[in-house]
């Protein structure tokens, strides 16, 4: 059993942060790696990239958005409750090195995944530009943590309630055009965001890492569920990734496959909300 020792609601309760007791994983985990969690005996295996670890205390941090039944079920877990299973660390760690100037771009909960990578790049001695975006000011997460590990931090919101009004790509374009010596871009967020970031960095010829979140099952390369096309080759995000060269990823295919179970996901979530006595007027 894996106990939750700290819990925080972010972004109006749409995003949850858990610090979980998992000493073996905390010892081993490196930035970019993920864990698979299961809440109970009937639960799905949900992959989440770790947002942070505290090896001394034996803790790992995951930050997730509530998007369906499984994450809604996770949200019901309070401090002192436990996940039934936490498996990891899984996937390849981020290759961290000094390249000079780097730009780190995060959207939504992608910022949580981006943070330890950004910190690693900063510790390596890179000059770090960071751009973080959200739909609206109250949905933005981890601004302070990102500011601490960045030399320059830029914020965008779609509705202009905070920072630059518009998309992260607007700021990315500006930074790339003003700094032709940027050696690496790391872009993590929703699939369309990563797709447009990668398209832009390709025009500037800047090497780009993206972290993918396809549907997974075992997380050990056994089932092939998380297959993605990278440079025309089939790769498994769980063992070959989750990070890949953003210029080579087939984002269209990734997006299609993420929609595999939309009807089932809706059915499960509706049943769960009915059982929990969900009464608000939201459509989902």
């Amino acid at each position: 059993m894996f106990e939750i020792v700290e819990r925080e609601e972010m972004a109006q309760g749409t995003i949850i942060s858990n610090w979980i007791k998992a000493p073996k994983i905390a010892q081993k985990a490196k930035p970019g790696q993920f864990v698979i969690l299961r809440a109970n005996e009937k639960g799905e295996r949900i992959p989440l990239t770790m947002a942070d670890t505290d090896p001394a205390k034996g803790l790992i941090n995951v930050i997730y958005m509530v998007v369906g039944k499984s994450t809604a079920l996770f949200k019901t877990l309070k401090v002192g409750d436990s996940y039934l299973d936490v498996i990891g660390p899984l996937g390849q760690p981020t290759h961290l090195e000094k390249v000079g100037k780097v730009v780190c771009v995060g959207g939504g909960t992608g910022i949580a995944v981006l943070h330890p990578i950004t910190r690693g790049l900063k510790q390596m001695g890179n000059y770090v530009y960071s751009i973080i975006g959200a739909r609206s000011k109250d949905l933005l997460i981890l601004e302070d943590k990102m500011r601490k590990v960045s030399d320059e931090l830029f914020v965008t919101t779609d509705d202009g309630t905070y920072g630059h009004k518009g998309f992260v790509t607007d700021v990315l374009d500006k930074i790339l055009s003003e700094n032709r010596d940027i050696g690496l871009a790391v872009c993590i967020g929703p699939v369309p965001m990563m797709k447009f970031c990668a398209k832009m960095t390709k025009e500037y010829g800047v090497k780009t890492l993206v972290s993918l979140n396809p549907i997974m099952l075992d997380g050990t390369g056994m089932c092939g569920c998380c297959r993605v096309q990278v440079g025309g080759k089939m790769q498994f995000a769980c063992v070959d990734g989750p990070e890949f060269d953003g210029h080579e990823v087939d984002f269209e295919e990734l997006n299609l496959r993420l929609r595999s179970y939309l009807p089932e996901e809706k059915l499960a979530y509706d049943r769960f909300k009915a059982a929990m006595g969900h009464t608000c007027a939201c459509k989902s």
């Binding site: 073996k24 799905e44 179970y261």
Partner: protein, 471 residues
């Protein structure tokens, strides 16, 4: 009565059939197909065994069960005696009785089979195990004095469970490391409920735990801990991680929604119980027209699972003919009875899908059989211009599994062959890395449960020698 008369009398008893669910009914549920023998049927079947002095059946058993020995106990109605006899050689009889290919092993060599039908050894083994589990007294086999030696077993499939069962009885401390959240390996994620109820796998693992085996689930050796780290804590390490790498057809359209590897399809259905969605949370596309590609046991399991998931059509698409099907005869027979349609001499060339990314069909080519190839089976050759389309919404690719590199890549000192399988001595399971043994599919490539158990047996003997004598 003379011996001749005894033999003549015994041959008159026909091979006793196990009662089983009606094909039409069972094709729509996940309950086990055969009900198993009653004590009366088992004793009647046991009476058919002529107790050969030099039993050939035993030579056909990869774990060398004393087959006439346990059958004699059943004949006498001493079912506890029977299970004790089996346990001497096999820690997983309820599993083996169900999934071993007996027709090419013990039963294939049974002397009665020459003129008549062989003794139903598998059914009797299954009976002895089931009787013990459900009606027997709580007993355990005798254990040797503790040796103080520690063994790590990586993987809780048939090979690992055999090694653990053997070595715990010999007095060693055994810890099994399993990557998934439940022990059993392919027995729990691969073989379907209707062929091997998960309750039985859990009971067999529980039996090992009662003997003192520790099972650590959620442990992905190679990631959570390396083999070299295990070697610091354990005197010996056995690697029985299975094949575990899905092979795709490598044809266009494999990304469409509804295309599964058999590993994924069966893991969702079995381990995650997607057949009981939404009661369980993991979904699985409920295809109306499902095609399974391949002709092995896993393909039969997938095609039969599809029927139970509500498919109107469940095809097996196989590039050779009926005679070359590698699946166990009983599985093919059950699939046919349940209404699986076989498209023989048919090879897929591309998947077709719609704009939303959903699978809509598969284009295939007709094949004809040429000369035998390296496997001894006649090589299928495409018939030019014979393309045709089969409308399907789900495809399950079941053409075998390769060697998963997750553990092997993180273990310096292991020698691998060109397919990525671990090189190990076939007589002892010793790898090229000191204090490390390996067996099962990660060594041989995808094979059967009992062959993995046989490899586990050889390795456990070698590990025991090493821990006892130092070599």
């Amino acid at each position: 009565m003379s011996e001749e008369k005894v033999a003549a009398k015994k041959e008159k008893i026909p091979r006793q059939k196990m009662p089983e669910q009606d094909p039409k009914v069972r094709a729509r549920n996940f309950n086990e197909v055969p009900y198993g023998y009653t004590p009366e049927l088992a004793m009647k079947e046991a009476e058919r065994c002529i107790q050969c002095k030099d039993p050939r059946c035993r030579q056909g058993c990869p774990v060398e069960i004393d087959i006439p020995g346990f059958i004699k106990f059943i004949k006498e109605g001493d079912f506890e005696g029977a299970i004790r006899k089996i346990w001497e050689k096999n820690a997983l009889p309820a599993v083996c009785g169900r999934v071993c290919p007996q027709e090419v092993q013990c039963e294939g060599l049974c002397i009665l089979g020459k003129k008549d039908e062989p003794v139903a050894i598998g059914n009797l083994e299954r009976f002895a195990a089931d009787y013990q589990r459900t009606k027997g007294r709580q007993i355990l086999p005798p254990k040797a004095e503790p040796t103080g030696k520690k063994v790590a077993v990586v993987g809780s499939g048939p090979a690992g469970l055999t090694v653990a069962g053997d070595l715990i009885l010999k007095g060693h401390e055994v810890t099994i490391f399993e990557a998934l959240h439940a022990p059993g390996g392919v027995l729990i994620y691969g073989i379907p409920e209707f062929r091997l109820p998960k309750e039985i796998v859990a009971a067999e693992c529980g039996y090992l735990e009662k003997l003192g085996v520790k099972i650590e689930v959620n442990s992905v050796i190679g990631r959570s801990e390396t083999v070299d780290e295990l070697l610091e804590r354990f005197d010996a390490v056995f690697l029985g991680v299975g094949a575990g790498l899905p092979i795709f057809l490598k044809i266009p359209g494999e990304h469409y929604i509804g295309v599964y590897s058999a590993n994924e399809y069966l893991t969702r259905s079995n381990l995650m119980k997607a057949y009981d969605f939404p009661n369980y949370d993991t979904p699985l596309v409920r295809g109306k027209k499902v095609a399974t590609f391949g002709g092995g046991n896993v393909a039969m399991d997938s095609a039969r699972t599809a029927l139970r998931m509500g498919a109107e059509k469940s095809y097996i698409i196989y590039r050779r003919s009926h005679a070359e099907l590698p699946a166990r005869a009983a599985e093919v027979h059950h699939a046919e009875e349940e209404g699986v349609e076989f498209l023989f001499l048919t090879n897929p060339v591309r998947f077709l899908g719609n704009d939303e990314g959903f699978l809509t069909g598969v284009e295939c080519l007709r094949m004809e059989l040429g000369e035998p190839d390296a496997s001894g089976r006649r090589r299928p050759i495409p018939v030019p211009g014979s393309e045709f389309i089969v409308e399907i919404d789900t495809a399950v690719i079941s053409i075998g599994s390769g060697a998963n590199p997750l553990l092997t890549k993180s273990t310096p000192g292991l020698v691998l062959n060109k397919w990525g399988n671990i090189v190990a001595d076939p007589k002892t399971g010793k790898t090229m890395k000191p204090r490390v043994w390996a067996g099962g599919d990660i060594v041989t490539g995808a094979a059967t449960v009992i062959l993995a158990m046989g490899a586990g047996r050889l390795a456990s003997n070698s590990i025991h020698d090493f821990l006892t004598y130092g070599w």
